[in-house]
Each structure stands twice: as structure tokens, then as C-alpha cells.
């Protein structure tokens, strides 16, 4: 698993508070039993009319094709726990997200995919969105060691829970092996829980 320390990519703004995971990926695309095609679907109903015509959405604009850092507002990814939402963004090309705040489950899902979901202040997010819109071709640099996002001449302070940052920096964000390493301790806790011994049925 790779250590994630620095991400350099072009930005793409998605403006609006409370953008829920149904908006990020409509439920009808959850009928597939693998994640392989999810990259075709992010923001589908915001990008296309029912007849398939393109709507005005940053993910449709030529200048944002190939962008890797999504800049969003508050409570991004609220609602359903569907991992299909971050999967669809990542498979479209997103490698990191900067937002005012995230829904808890969404932020956790991002880390599990090795995708930093970092927080910047409301004013900073607004400034970054504006700058990216004016400079879509420019690279942003997200530095997880310094916890800074470089945008043009500006450096913005970013935050994220220390534990999640550690998981990314150390390359242990795919947590299964960490958890399995404590097999003896898992068994000890299981043995200590009264309900584990109760008769089933």
C-alpha cells in the first residue's frame, strides 16, 4: 500500500452545501455488483438531463477534465453510507478533496480508499474555488506532511483528524492487515463479552 504524502493535481470546484451521496451517485447505479464502472457516474443527474444532454456542471467542463483535487463546501457527502460515492469520484480521477466539512461516514470511506479528505476554512474554500475557476489549468499542491494546500502564490492551512493523516502518511489506510495483526487480542475481547457466550436460537 502506498504512502500518501503529497498530491499535485489541477482543481475542480463543486459549489454548494449539503451535497449528499445520492447527488454524488444516484441509487440506480448501485445495482452493479462491482465498483469497476463507477467512474462513469459521479453527479450523473446533475450532469445530464434524463434525455442524456449535458447540463452545466464542473465535471462536464473541458477545462476540468483530468482534474484531481475536488474543492467542495460544507457537509459534503452527507446521507447514505454508499462507498460508491467516493469510488465514483476516485475512478473519475479525484485523488484528494478539500472542503469546509464532511459527513463522517463519507470522510471515513475516503481514507479507506487512500484519498485525503482535508478541511479548510469557509473563507479559504471560497477563495480556492474562485481561484481554481479562474485558473483551471494550474496545479494545486496538497502537502499532507506540512498540512498546507498551495494554490498559486497562496498557502492555505488544512486540517484532518491526526489518525487518518497517519494512516495515509504511513500507507496503512487499507486497515485489514493492521486489524488482523491483533488476532490474539480480538479473541481475548470476544471471550470477555458476555453476549458472545449466550446460546444462539
Amino acid at each position: 500500500m502506498s504512502k500518501i504524502k503529497k498530491i499535485e493535481a489541477r482543481g475542480v470546484p463543486v459549489v454548494g452545501n449539503d451535497i449528499d451521496t445520492d447527488r454524488i451517485i444516484p441509487a440506480r447505479y448501485l445495482k452493479e455488483i462491482t465498483f469497476s464502472k463507477m467512474g462513469d457516474y459521479p453527479f450523473y443527474d446533475e450532469r445530464f438531463t434524463p434525455e442524456g444532454k449535458k447540463k452545466d456542471h464542473s465535471f462536464n467542463k473541458p477545462e476540468y477534465q483530468g482534474a484531481g483535487i475536488l474543492v467542495a463546501n460544507s457537509n459534503f457527502g452527507c446521507g447514505s453510507s454508499r462507498e460508491h460515492a467516493p469510488q465514483s469520484l476516485v475512478r473519475w480521477g479525484i485523488r484528494a478533496i478539500v472542503a469546509e466539512s464532511y459527513a463522517e461516514i463519507f470522510a471515513g470511506n475516503c481514507v479507506m480508499l487512500g484519498t485525503p479528505a482535508v478541511v479548510a476554512s469557509k473563507d479559504d474554500v471560497a477563495a480556492i474555488q474562485k481561484w481554481v475557476a479562474a485558473n483551471p489549468e494550474a496545479q494545486l499542491v496538497l502537502d499532507l506532511e506540512a498540512m498546507i494546500l498551495k494554490v498559486g502564490d497562496h498557502s492555505y492551512k488544512i486540517t484532518m483528524p491526526e489518525t487518518r493523516r497517519n494512516a495515509l502518511l504511513e500507507g496503512t489506510w487499507d486497515s485489514t492487515s493492521l486489524l488482523l495483526a491483533n488476532k490474539d487480542k480480538i479473541e481475548a475481547i470476544a471471550a470477555s463479552l458476555p453476549y458472545m457466550a449466550w446460546t444462539q436460537d
Binding site: D20, D22, R23, A27, K31, L180, L193
Partner: protein, 475 residues
């Protein structure tokens, strides 16, 4: 940080280790699985060459994708059928109990866990579904997870977690007639906001919850996530134990007595400390209805729709403007000016027997007054589980609904998330007892959703518009 709360006791009892990242390795006592968020997780376990560590701690069912009109196999939708076959194959290969139609116990995952007695106080409970918070009604720490985390629970029975803060939400006094648990939680979300709960577990306490049934507590805990709180719980008490006694998986005999003693000791006591405490008066709560595109955009039935210019915050104003644009409603409108096309009673929020009884009572009252489902309205009732459906039919509730012109369906998630044939068309507007009014949630990108209690949905079905349920006094 909170101390000595139920949350703390459950968290500590399930803490396996501190991981190198600083996260806590948390043991999961009960893992529920459904067909939509699990196939990829089983694939990941397989790819890693692992097994399910405690197959007897995982229970699977199917709910999201199942049609509710005809549940004959093979399903007409080939994608739904493929998804069914995947969960059948996966549960068989990994030795996980699958509660399918043949068992008579199939249903919405958060309805069947409690009804089978799988959900027990003091457990940690996870499921690849955000409404796992429902199980907190029993004094559990229960929360939704993503598919990669489902993989972790399957492979290790554990999750890498960060601790939560605890906000105690007290509602004291007596709820007014016609005010239901759904109204209580919509009121709380309206007050604290849809992101107010980020980072918190909500502890619901006070007179209103003490006197609430388990079904009602489940409705409240269910929608914790709509307020941003990943988990919500009520401390276990005699109401909890009475509900659990004699259920399929509840402890029996001597084990039962020991269990009750243990469960009682888990409740937050007078020595508990909280990160925050908020208090509301039960008398202030009216029947609620959402008018916008987040569960926080709601009003009491006696109020009028808000004016964007009353909001100082630019982000919130923008949200409200988007809501009006999508909903095609106007500031200052009264709720009873909003006509509906569809009435949906069901979901993990309000698909339990008590919900169906409350809705049927309103319908029965309407029938007496010579009313039926209003012309042009499609109304249907989707029991939360096969067992709820059976119970309702034994009580004759289905005939009350059918006599009034409601359709009586099979169990499933149905139009709550519409990844099955139950979907809004075009810009239809629904009165819905479900949990989310997000844009496109009910299957049509331009569809519109008004969230309310099941009794309020029944009233709206009979009048064809949003209606104060207290016009049907049996409720």
C-alpha cells in the same frame, strides 16, 4: 470528552487495541449485511485470501433492491437478480446466515435485527448502511460503514475507529396528541441542523423518550444520521427488556436474568459527563413536515414556508434557494396548500407494526367520514419485514388500507431509495414516511419528497394534500 456514559462503557468493552495510526481497533458484536453494499466486500475478502472470522456474528438479508409488488424469482430486473444471486453465493460460501424469503424473516435490515432479538443492549453494531443508527434504540453503539469497512468486519470482526463525542438531547414534558416520534426527530434535526451531529453520538433522554415505545425510539435513532450523528442511542430500560423478552435470539432462562442485570448496568447514570447537553420541551413540538431538500428543511404544520432573506448565512441561503427551485414551492406558502401525487408508508424509519397501526387508525377514521385515497393520488403501504406484514394482516390492517384504496405490498426498502421498481415519475411529489428528501432520492431526478410521520402520510393520502393529522382525531 464524555465519561461514564453508555457510549463510553460500550466503547471501552469493545476496544481491542490502539492501532499504530492512533485509531482504536473496535470489536463489532453484530454485523448486518444486505445485498447492495456487500458483494464488493466479499470479493475483497476473497481477493485477499481471507475468511470471515466470526461467521456466526454476521446476518444477511435483502431489502434495497427487492421489488415489493411481485417477489417471485427470478426478479424481472436482471441486475436485481444478479445481485440476489451474489448474496446467495457469498453467504453460502462464507457460512453466513441469510434471512431470505424462505425463512419468513426477510425484511429491511434495521427492522429485522431488533425484531429477531439480534440487536441487544451493550453491543457494537455495524452495517453497510447509514441507518444502522436505528439499533441504538436498544442502548447499543450502532453506526453505518462503507464497503471497505464491511470487508474489515467480515475479515476481522473489527473496525479502525476514532472515538465520538456525546451530546445528550433531552426532551422533557408530554408530547401533544398527534405528535409522534418522527415529529420529535424532525424537530431535533431542524434545531441542531443536518451537520450539527458530525463527530457526535446522540444520547436521547428525558420524559419523551422514557415514555416512548421501542418502535418510536427506533424511529428517532434511525434519523440521527440525518442530523449528522453517525450513532444515536437511548439508554436501556424496562421498555427495552420487555420488547426483547422471548425474541428468537434473545437470551433465555438464567441467561436472560443475567443479561438484564448486565444491560441495566450499562445505562448512563448520574455520574455520566457529556461533551454537550441540549434540552427541548415536548410541548413545543407540532406535527412536522419537510418542504426542502434536506431533512433539516422542515416546519411545524401550523407554520408557513420560510423566506430565504431571513437567513444570514450565505451558504444556508443558497441551500434554501436551491430547495425552492427544486421543490417548485414558494416562501410563505402554507403546508396545506401543497398537493401530493404519491403517498408512501414504509422504510426503516417508519415501517414497523406500530407505524402501520397509527396510519391505519387515521385511514379507518377517514373511511368512517366517507373518505378514500384522494383522486389522482397513488398510495401504498410497504411493511418493513415479512413478520411485520404477517402481524399487520393478523390484525386486519391490510383490509383497512385496501378498502381506502392503498396498495398493500411485500417487505422491502421500496420508495425510500427507489433502487427497485417503486419510483417517482417526473416531478411528482410524495408524502413519505421515509428519511431522506434529497434531490432525486425517490428515483426521479426531478421528483420531490415531503417527509412526515406515517399518520400524516395517511392523512395526506385521504385529502390529496399535506394535512394536519389532528383533523382525524383517532390518531
Amino acid at each position: 470528552m464524555a465519561k461514564n456514559t453508555l457510549y463510553n462503557k460500550v466503547w471501552d468493552a469493545h476496544s481491542v487495541a490502539t492501532l499504530p495510526t492512533g485509531q482504536t481497533q473496535l470489536f463489532i458484536g453484530l454485523h448486518m449485511v444486505h445485498e447492495v453494499t456487500s458483494p464488493q466486500a466479499f470479493d475483497m475478502v476473497r481477493e485477499k485470501g481471507l475468511k470471515v472470522m466470526y461467521p456466526e456474528r454476521t446476518f444477511a438479508t435483502m431489502d434495497h433492491i427487492v421489488p415489493t409488488r411481485s417477489q417471485k424469482r427470478p426478479f424481472l430486473d436482471p441486475q436485481a437478480e444478479a445481485m440476489m444471486q451474489a448474496i446467495e453465493r457469498n453467504t453460502e460460501e462464507f457460512g453466513v446466515t441469510f434471512l431470505n424469503f424462505e425463512t419468513g424473516k426477510q425484511g429491511v435490515v434495521h427492522i429485522i435485527g431488533p425484531e429477531l432479538g439480534l440487536t441487544q443492549p451493550g453491543m457494537t453494531i455495524a452495517c453497510g448502511d447509514s441507518h444502522t443508527s436505528t439499533h441504538g434504540a436498544f442502548g447499543t453503539l450502532a453506526f453505518g460503514i462503507g464497503t471497505s469497512q464491511v470487508r474489515d468486519v467480515l475479515a476481522t470482526q473489527c473496525l479502525a475507529m476514532d472515538p465520538m463525542k456525546v451530546r445528550r438531547i433531552e426532551v422533557n414534558g408530554t408530547l401533544r396528541p398527534g405528535v409522534t416520534p418522527k415529529d420529535v426527530i424532525l424537530y431535533i434535526i431542524n434545531r441542531l441542523g443536518v451537520k450539527g451531529g458530525i463527530g457526535f453520538a446522540y444520547e436521547y433522554a428525558g420524559d419523551a423518550f422514557d415514555s416512548m415505545t421501542m418502535e418510536g425510539r427506533m424511529t428517532v435513532c434511525n434519523m440521527s444520521i440525518e442530523g449528522g450523528a453517525r450513532a444515536g442511542y437511548v439508554n436501556p430500560d424496562d421498555t427495552t427488556f420487555e420488547y426483547l423478552k422471548g425474541r428468537d435470539h434473545s437470551p433465555k432462562g438464567e441467561e436472560w436474568d443475567k443479561a438484564v442485570e448486565k444491560w441495566r448496568s450499562l445505562a448512563s447514570g448520574p455520574e455520566a459527563e457529556y461533551d454537550e447537553v441540549v434540552r427541548y420541551n415536548a410541548e413545543d413540538i407540532q406535527p412536522m413536515v419537510t418542504w426542502g431538500i434536506t431533512p433539516g428543511q422542515s416546519i411545524g404544520i401550523h407554520q408557513t414556508l420560510p423566506r430565504p432573506e431571513d437567513y444570514d448565512d450565505s451558504g444556508e441561503r443558497q441551500s434554501i434557494e436551491l430547495a425552492y427551485k427544486h421543490m417548485k414551492l414558494k416562501p410563505g406558502q402554507r403546508p396545506d396548500e401543497i398537493k401530493i401525487d404519491v403517498a408512501f408508508i414504509g422504510s426503516c424509519t417508519n415501517g414497523r407494526i406500530e407505524d402501520l397501526r397509527a396510519a391505519a387508525a387515521v385511514v379507518a377514521q377517514g373511511i368512517k367520514a366517507g373518505k378514500k385515497v384522494a383522486p389522482g393520488v397513488t398510495a401504498f403501504v410497504v411493511p418493513g419485514s415479512m413478520q411485520v406484514r404477517k402481524q399487520a394482516m393478523e390484525e386486519g390492517l391490510h383490509t383497512i388500507f385496501q378498502d381506502a384504496g392503498f396498495e398493500w405490498r411485500g417487505a422491502g426498502c421500496s420508495m425510500c431509495l427507489a433502487m427497485n421498481p417503486d419510483q417517482l415519475k417526473g416531478d411528482q411529489i410524495s408524502a413519505s414516511s421515509s428519511n431522506r428528501n434529497f434531490i432525486g432520492r425517490q428515483g426521479s431526478p426531478s421528483g420531490r419528497t415531503l417527509l412526515m410521520s406515517p399518520a400524516m402520510v395517511a392523512a395526506a393520502a385521504l385529502t390529496g394534500k399535506v394535512t394536519d393529522v389532528r383533523q382525524f382525531p383517532a390518531a
